[in-house]
Subunit: 274 residues, 2 copies
């Protein structure tokens, strides 16, 4: 095999490390792939780490010990996170998004691959130290953000359904009280095999008004004897101030809507932009 | 500003290009960021392109013209795609996945960020030349694969619902015939503002048995005067051989299930592994 020069390694190595966030790559992996000595690979990694850090593109962290190696976390500076959230907030504040009933049209944003990837990385960065084993969401609109958060954390995504399906196998089905003023009783189902006792769950959803659905997910995790280690949402409404579910962190706040003009205001939440 | 050396640029440049598949980056973008001449940046790009190509990590393509620049497509070799599909097929053929009624439990795989990212890249690679403007799926289980396909193509994801929702605004609602033997009439709704006339849609779903849901999405696109430029699914069943929807390409085939032993066989489809 031809000797691979540093200039010819750095591109491939950067791609391999960054496409697989929060997974530990051993130095031996790269030594074998590139036919290089550990000291050489170690220098490569330092160069990539500096380059990513310098341009605010995330962190390469060295993990010591027998299972050690190097791990990429797409964590951005508070400044870059704030700018990202401001861009999304501006998009959601565009005229014409207010729908009959005071609802905000968010579907184009909440299913955009680029937007959800960036927001998922911001969300994940708050919860790395809680070491979740899985991300849980409830169908449908929260799935893209939850998937991208799970991607950044390198854990599986688990999707609760409104009803149990034959192709999900035996399921746990619970009733919960929806967050609206009406407080309707709703059902939520989750495949028995999706979560194991003792697992640590990060709950993610796209929108929190009353917090009923999130609280339903918290109760679902109790049924599975799983631990909820965090709750994150894309947008939370200012009212009602008291949510059925405590402790949720929001990326954005839906502050107000002028039903007459159709104007609405979404702003970055203090949970992530400070 | 300090002069940034090549070794210090390559990591950041690789990350910037590869995190944003199928988007054209102009050379000026990088000249400005790194304070380097165009010829220098151009050499950097050649180095990264060779490095990615050498290790089967996707293609950097130069796009000529006024809107020109460089674009990354995460296209892998046929050999690597085949290995990826074989790995997923092996996982889906594990004992214990067969559910009552002959259904296959796939939810853990179909919502796995790593698996859907790899499958989405394989799916996208078949459709770059069809230049889709959007990816369409129907809730729920196809969303992760559809999102990752949209990510690789750099287009929005659009999600059809079983019913219209107040927070989706005015919607088009159609009836379609589900693929099962029963041929039940089902409904599908899609927000009016989600698709524009003349747009090119790539339809993606997780599972095709009779093809009824896919055909429903084809008919939905006709309602929007949008053009369907391709149809891709994660798994197709061997039977029924004739699907309600023609021309779908499958990544994997669900070949057989032995209800007595609970064993089932999923294999890479010839659509993508040849």
């Amino acid at each position: 095999m031809d000797r691979i020069k540093r200039n010819e390694r750095l591109g491939a190595m950067t791609r391999l490390i960054t496409e697989d966030p929060n997974r530990i790559h051993t130095l031996s992996e790269f030594c074998e792939l590139f036919g290089s000595a550990k000291s050489t690979i170690s220098e490569d990694i330092d160069l990539i780490a500096e380059s990513l850090e310098h341009f605010d593109l995330g962190r390469l962290e060295t993990v010591a010990g027998a299972a050690g190696g190097v791990r990429y976390r797409p964590m951005m500076s508070a400044e870059k996170a704030r700018r990202t959230l401001e861009d999304v907030a501006a998009k959601l504040s565009e005229p014409g998004r207010l729908l009959p009933g005071g609802f905000l049209y968010t579907s184009d944003v909440s299913s955009d691959p680029r937007v959800t990837e960036a927001l998922g990385e911001i969300l994940a960065s708050k919860f790395y130290d809680r070491q979740p084993d899985l991300v849980l969401t409830m169908e449908t609109k929260g799935i893209p953000l939850a998937l991208m958060t799970a991607r950044a954390l390198n854990v599986p995504l688990v999707i609760a359904r409104r009803d149990s399906k034959a192709y999900e196998g035996s399921a746990v089905k619970i009733n919960y009280i929806s967050g609206g003023d009406s407080g309707r009783i709703e059902t939520m189902a989750l495949s028995r095999r999706a979560v194991k006792p003792g697992q640590r769950a990060l709950i993610v959803d796209d929108f929190m008004k009353g917090g009923g659905t999130l609280q339903g997910m918290v109760e679902m995790m109790a049924e599975f004897q799983a631990e909820v280690v965090g709750i994150g949402v894309m947008i939370a409404t200012m009212t009602p101030e008291t949510k059925r579910c405590a402790g949720a962190k929001a990326l954005l706040m839906f502050r107000s809507a002028d039903r007459e003009s159709g104007a609405c205001e979404v702003v970055p939440s203090a949970d992530f932009s400070e």
